[in-house]
Subunit: 478 residues, 2 copies
Amino acid sequence: MKKENQKKESLNEIIDQILNLLDKNKLVDRLVEKQDIPKQKLIKNLVNKQSLNKLMRLLNELHSADIADILESLPIDERLIVWDLIKSEHDGEVLIEVSDAVRQTLIADMDNTELLAAAEQLDTDEIADIAADLPENVLQNLLDNLDIQNRERLESTLSYDDDTVGALMDYDIVPIREDISLEVVLRYLRKLRKLPDHTDKLFVVNREGSLLGVLPLKKIIVNELDLKVKDVMSSDVVLFKPHDEADHASDAFERYDLVTAPVINEENKLVGRLSVNTVVDYIREEAESDKLSMVGLREEEDLFSSIWKSVQNRWAWLAINLITAFIASRVIGVFEGSIEKVVALAALMPIIAGIGGNSGNQTTTMIVRGLALGQVSFNNLQRLLKKELGVALLNGVLWGGVVGVFAYLLYGNIKLGMVMTAAMILNLLLSAIMGVMIPLVMNRFGRDPAVGSSVLITAMTDSGGFFIFLGLASIVLI
Amino acid sequence: MKKENQKKESLNEIIDQILNLLDKNKLVDRLVEKQDIPKQKLIKNLVNKQSLNKLMRLLNELHSADIADILESLPIDERLIVWDLIKSEHDGEVLIEVSDAVRQTLIADMDNTELLAAAEQLDTDEIADIAADLPENVLQNLLDNLDIQNRERLESTLSYDDDTVGALMDYDIVPIREDISLEVVLRYLRKLRKLPDHTDKLFVVNREGSLLGVLPLKKIIVNELDLKVKDVMSSDVVLFKPHDEADHASDAFERYDLVTAPVINEENKLVGRLSVNTVVDYIREEAESDKLSMVGLREEEDLFSSIWKSVQNRWAWLAINLITAFIASRVIGVFEGSIEKVVALAALMPIIAGIGGNSGNQTTTMIVRGLALGQVSFNNLQRLLKKELGVALLNGVLWGGVVGVFAYLLYGNIKLGMVMTAAMILNLLLSAIMGVMIPLVMNRFGRDPAVGSSVLITAMTDSGGFFIFLGLASIVLI
């Protein structure tokens, strides 16, 4: 009667079941391959059919988001077997739910007729989400089959950047007039029989289609039915324009606890709607791609991507790091004479560089977060710098003292210990300055400070740390 | 008439205005301090009053989430001046919206009467959110003033872990019976006059309070009023229990596009409601704290925390890194003899360690993401390992070749170049194995693989890289 919340565990169980069923099939395949006789073939077909039927029933009872999850978790061969078992009426929804990388593998497995059928199950804004992955002729075919309004919508949605409201909005709007009574509204809605998902409010427009306000469903319900729309509607509306940044919109949804919000064009005409489920997806995807981009990965790699594709996805980051490592290596090279004389320097120098990098990354993370929340600007730069320098100095004295004592105890050279302490303090101060400045400067030049700040910081604190430590040592010890 | 979406820019303008107004005040203060004569005092009071009044008007027109944002962006002195200007009727809402670190500074500035007044503006579930920061006697006082039902709710909310559904749910439920008609439901709702925020559905319960289903408001609106609740309600409900993990709940909200969902206890009794605005906040906070914890920061530090507090917040991470750096340093120490003979080793060794660390972190990030999405388990370990080893081998040959040539060109020693290439390949293979295994093992032992994986990987690839490179060099070159 009631469905328990589909948890990860139960989904995992289903995946295990599916893997088992697939294994059974493979087993039969292998058996049959060995001795290709008609009788065996018959058995194979029977066993196969039985388990495949079970699997098919199991799969097609699931929500499309759950099917998508299973497809994501399967290596490509099994993924395509399962994909073929999904009833074609679910194809469209599943294609929407999977990640870009997995969608590409699924679409590559479908012919144009199947693709067209799948896409035709979708709303205009959903087609736009997968349009980039569709073959040119399928997309053209789709456009030809749409009516004028939907074709225009699809073309305009496709024209907006990925991270704008225009790309996220849908067209599930229920517009009403302001001079009718709630009674009439209610009669109209009853005639519609079905309201779009997430409808928490209707949009009030005038004859020209300009937005006048919104009418929450709650208000229709709790107010007397002879009241007019204009008496009950809110005209104080949080609204968006198609070119607004999606980041700002998701902030507003969080800030003002919105479920849906109208999108209007430059002429104040209602053109679409933004709803919280799209915003939640957007927030999740942003958080994911932030984490991936911090180590130089793009979203396009799924867990089971080919080795070659993975190498392509990761090489740029490794190349950049190689360059910074070469530079650090040359800094050390300058001091090879000193190292030859006091070989302990070689063993101690990674400590200075490592702690500097860590400390710098902590500072950068705080600043990047402050930038994202709009709390950091060049206005309070001085204050932030003063704080971070203070933290660095305190940490430098503290940990610099520890490493100084460590070096002294290990090598019995008090001057070496003092060089360690001084180098640690100086490198932490450098890391504080760089940790504050690098994200601010990147932000100033319109770059995303979350991407690449970490590489730059580490490059600075590595080369800088080696230079400071080996330089000081050359002066004091040699 | 209509309010444009409050964007970051306009918020920044307001902050600038506020800073200007505060600066004006300070300026007057300084002027007056110099020549303390009554006339000056009068002027000061007038100017002060004028700008403070303007500031107060400005502030109190804002949404509480916007006020919270401004408070977050201000250094502590200015923050408290602005806080005093906020009308006490907004105090409660603002305290809910600010971060933990800032809330503590605000509460420290309030006396018990103010705190009690602020807390009394809040719902039970909101009080629970700030309870940890309230002084003991204020909390006791609050509990004493609540009626039995709300006291029990507050106590039970406080008893749940932070990351469970119980801690996130609210009590804004509108329960109805199944055997009444929609007409009666509508009459009942009209009598209520106001529905809780985000109400998209009513909860259908029996005489004992057990959940039977949900009735979306949409259905009341589009169906004939003589139908009974039980004919229209959905009994196929996504529901939660208070001890369910908040992560699972937020997954379900994203997956099934929910706006609200019922929370029931072990006896199937309806106890509360989870709504999408809480879930959005939760997702955002989790994403934030993931980023912070990756470099060993906790949420408790705000941008303007004192230096001493910041040092405390960051020291644990630096200490761990110091230990791993010490270990790496001792690994190098073992090979000091070799470095003395071939000093180029000292300059080249950070390259091997650095690239290994980067590559390992890429692998770990993919695996941690797969774990979070439920796509990785010990079931497909072998396959993942094979893929990552393949990627590492390919990268090793590629980049190892580059660094080998680099070393050869620089030092004219072909054997040294070959050692570089071999060490790079081996360290990348090590980083692939560790990158896959460390998060899986951490996950197996119930630890969050996102926290600490990166330190462990880097420790392994540093010490391992030095050992592999210097060890190989000692065998081949010395």
